[in-house]
């Protein structure tokens, strides 16, 4: 058996009125010409003809599997927090803000280079001696750090990096506590908590 996996962009639409539907697609054709159209409702002959002429691929009345999007995750998060507030006698006030401006960078930060980012950063390469990373949001670096890190986010995750200079919320982090393959550094009640992440990633 031969199988293939694709990622496709899907545009979902519900037909209420035939002319409105066609007018909408005419207007936005440029956006949707490479999308798969998922239509709910009745596709009549006119619409079928229109889609065929425009060479738009479509499926009808299919419930697509959906992954959790950011809004849902945030909503869930808020709900859980509300729940925790109600149940806990003394709710801990930690202002949590999910920044939705995550940057992913896979080039290495060389000596003399500085990465300055207002949001979150996932860095998939090294920070060399003399290089610096300055982040207002959350930070994950998957490779060795030998330069300097400034992070003011809720947390950062960093490999054991004996030569790095790491400052988290204006407090210098002692490298001796960063022992594991990945360590989570957080600020809780004005205390810096470092938790080793011991679990190996596995793909099953």
């Amino acid at each position: 058996m031969e199988t293939k996996q694709y990622s496709v962009k899907v545009f979902e639409a519900t037909i209420a009125d035939e002319s409105e539907f066609i007018a909408f697609f005419d207007k936005n054709y440029l956006f949707f010409q490479h999308h798969l159209i998922s239509i709910h409702g009745v596709v009549n002959a006119a619409i079928e003809n229109y889609l065929k002429n425009k060479n738009l691929k479509y499926i009808t009345n299919v419930e697509l599997p959906k992954t959790k999007n950011r809004q849902n995750v945030e909503k869930e998060f808020e709900e859980k927090k509300e729940l925790a507030k109600e149940t806990a006698p003394e709710p801990q006030e930690v202002v949590e803000k999910i920044q939705d401006n995550l940057k992913v960078i896979d080039t290495l930060v060389r000596s003399g280079q500085e990465l300055k980012i207002a949001g979150d950063l996932l860095l998939l390469n090294r920070v060399n001696s003399g290089g610096s990373v300055n982040i207002e949001g959350n930070l994950i670096i998957t490779q060795l750090v030998e330069g300097s890190i400034r992070c003011n986010g809720n947390f950062m995750m960093i490999k054991a990096s004996p030569k790095a200079n790491i400052v988290f919320h204006d407090v210098e982090v002692d490298n001796a506590y960063l022992k594991e393959r990945l360590n989570r550094v957080e600020l809780k009640n004005n205390k810096i908590i470092i938790t080793p992440v011991l679990k190996e990633t596995s793909w099953e």
Binding site: R110, S111, G112, R126, S129, G131
Partner: protein, 264 residues
């Protein structure tokens, strides 16, 4: 040819590779871009033949043909000297572009020897580079300076500004096998991890290099020298031959040592 830090053997490497490439039947010109501190002429044994320099060529005071010095060691090797009286402030982008364009039309390889440091002289040398060879010593300060020089190359060269990439190749110079084995020197693997550029070759520490430089006879001409042979292999690689990377970290008399140890 860049290094960031001075004294790592950049000029020696330029001379040897230039000659090595020429000995492989490729027409090659080496240009000393260390304006105000010329050295390459001595290492190539051409110091008493320098009449005109590269700055005079760029200022169109003399023709290129007049200033090019043909080496006696290979008919394919030519040399353009740096000015010893002027300083790097005389360099001008337009003039450099004109010079390197003219040279690349006539030669298979145009090698510019960059000055140490990362100032304007360095930036001008790398401005129109197609490729860069990075020379380092296996020690942390050399690696960090090279890292910085690569960073500047990656942001300030014309090719990068046009959306391309300048390919970089690494030469690790002055490897002392004993010090690497005892862990005092950085291993090649560590250096490659830090700099993340492909390895072009490894040169072992060789006492003969000082003498070769003093005499103006590049060590590549001495086939008894380990460093000379390493330069030959690098030159062959540059000319497109597939030559395996040698393991210079292991002493060459390793086999004999093992036998000796057996009888201890």
């Amino acid at each position: 040819m860049i290094s960031g830090k001075g004294g790592v053997g950049k000029t020696t490497t330029t001379a040897n590779i230039g000659l090595g490439v020429a000995l492989n039947e490729k027409k090659c010109v080496v240009v000393d871009f260390d304006i105000g501190q010329r050295n390459l002429d001595m290492i190539l044994g051409l110091e008493n033949r320098v009449v005109f320099d590269v700055v005079q060529v760029m200022d169109e005071e003399v023709g290129l043909k007049q200033a090019l010095i043909k080496s006696k060691m290979s008919p394919n090797l030519f040399f353009l000297a740096a000015s010893q009286t002027k300083d790097k402030s005389v360099l001008d982008s337009k003039k450099i572009l004109k010079l390197v364009t003219t040279l690349s039309e006539e030669f298979d390889f145009v090698i510019l020897d960059a000055p140490a440091g990362i100032e304007s002289g360095y930036e001008h040398t790398i401005e129109f580079a197609d490729r860069a060879i990075v020379v380092v010593n296996p020690e942390v300060s050399s690696i960090r300076d090279a890292d910085r020089a690569i960073g500047i190359l990656d942001s300030k060269s014309q090719k990068v500004k046009d959306g391309g990439e300048v390919m970089k190749y690494l030469i690790i110079n002055r490897i002392d096998p004993k010090m690497v084995q005892s862990g005092e020197m950085l291993s090649s693997e560590d250096i490659l991890d830090i700099l993340s550029i492909p390895l072009l070759g490894k040169i072992p520490e060789d006492r003969g290099i000082v003498d070769a430089s003093n005499q103006g006879k590049p060590i590549i001409l001495d086939s008894n020298s380990a460093a000379g042979r390493a330069y030959s292999r690098i030159a062959a690689r540059i000319c497109g031959e597939q030559v395996a990377i040698e393991n210079v970290e292991m002493p060459e008399n390793n086999f004999m040592q093992k036998i000796k140890e057996m009888f201890k």
